[in-house]
């Protein structure tokens, strides 16, 4: 009786498979950057000849930041949270107070920094202004702030809402040139 042993296909040693997998894993862990590019987007005004636009003084909210990062809003020393409430009051005044803006569409925020102002402070102020406007717009649309921030530009229905809010309360911040250090 011939016992013919069936030849098995040669087995590949799988012991090293785990090592390979670990190596790949570590490689991708190192190579992948999780941080996505995020930031505060602003549109710069186009380069143009200086045009004198006449704006009523009451419609301009002045913010000055000096080189010590002290902030002056409407000739009053303020900190960031105070600035936000002041800006909101100013923009949503609708002509009630003689010294505040006539309507949200006419309100302009003028931000003037010094050459020595720190960038952190500047971003802080810009961020605070953006948040103030986001809050006002969400109020205008009668929705919570979080819902407003989650509105999607790609969705036509939501875009319409965004456009409406943007039209009613336009973000008008004039970013004046920093003054020279004196």
């Amino acid at each position: 009786m011939l016992k013919k042993k069936k030849k098995d296909a040669p087995e590949i040693n799988g012991g090293a498979m785990a090592d390979i997998a670990f190596l790949l894993l570590i490689f991708f862990l190192v190579a992948t950057t999780i941080a996505s590019d995020k930031g505060v987007t602003v549109m710069l005004p186009p380069k143009a000849e200086d045009v004198d636009v006449k704006v009523k003084t009451r419609n301009v909210f002045n913010i000055l930041v000096n080189s010590n990062d002290d902030m002056l809003a409407q000739e009053e020393m303020v900190d960031l949270p105070k600035l936000r409430t002041m800006v909101k009051e100013f923009v949503l005044n609708n002509g009630k107070d003689k010294n505040q803006s006539e309507s949200p569409a006419k309100a302009i925020i003028s931000l003037k920094t010094d050459r020595g102002t720190s960038y952190e402070m500047y971003i802080g102020v810009i961020d605070e202004l953006k948040l103030a406007y986001a809050e006002m717009r969400s109020q205008y649309l009668k929705m919570p702030l979080e819902d407003y921030q989650n509105l999607d530009k790609e969705n036509p229905d939501q875009k319409e809402k965004l456009d409406r809010a943007r039209k009613a309360i336009p973000y008008k911040v004039s970013d004046a040139e920093p003054s020279e250090i004196k």
């Binding site: 987007t41 710069l44 971003i123 948040l131």
Partner: protein, 153 residues
């Protein structure tokens, strides 16, 4: 009764002792071939924090400018400098840089977004110089890179 027990003398398993070497070779290849960052940072770059952030959408339309104190202060001094690609430049060269970047994008050149990665300790002086140059170069969409700040109301 004759039984033929055929004993195969050939070794069946493939030698795997060279496998780690192959894997290491692959590892080294990828280590050399991968670029983790577009450019090596020559300036300090710790971003400020902000809460109202927008995400940069089309990465191909984004061009980066880094501003901060040079890491190599002995060579470049402590004054904040501007870095594009791999070199430190003066504010005057920004217009030229933007034009080059726009050229690279072809007809989408006007949709360029400048991402400014500025160190939180930088001063507004140099930033406003850069901003003026960007206005001159008609690259008006600017994104100040920042990290997420959580606010509790």
């Amino acid at each position: 009764m004759a039984t033929f027990k055929k004993k195969t003398k050939t070794k069946q398993d493939i030698p795997t002792s060279a496998l780690p070497d192959i894997i290491f070779m692959l590892l080294f290849f990828f280590m050399i071939a991968t670029t983790f960052r577009e450019s090596e940072l020559l300036v300090k770059n710790s971003l400020p924090q902000a809460s109202e952030l927008t995400k940069l959408e089309k990465k191909s339309l984004v061009s980066y400018i880094y501003i901060g104190e040079p890491s190599d202060t002995r060579k470049f001094g402590t004054e904040a400098r501007i870095q594009v690609n791999d070199v430190l430049i003066d504010p005057e060269q920004i217009v030229q840089h933007v034009i080059q970047e726009k050229d690279k994008l072809g007809e989408d050149g006007d949709k360029i977004t400048m991402s400014l990665k500025i160190d939180r300790e930088a001063k507004m002086g140099i930033i406003s110089d850069v901003r003026q140059k960007l206005r001159e170069a008609n690259a008006l969409k600017v994104n100040y890179a920042a990290n997420k700040k959580l606010r509790n109301f």
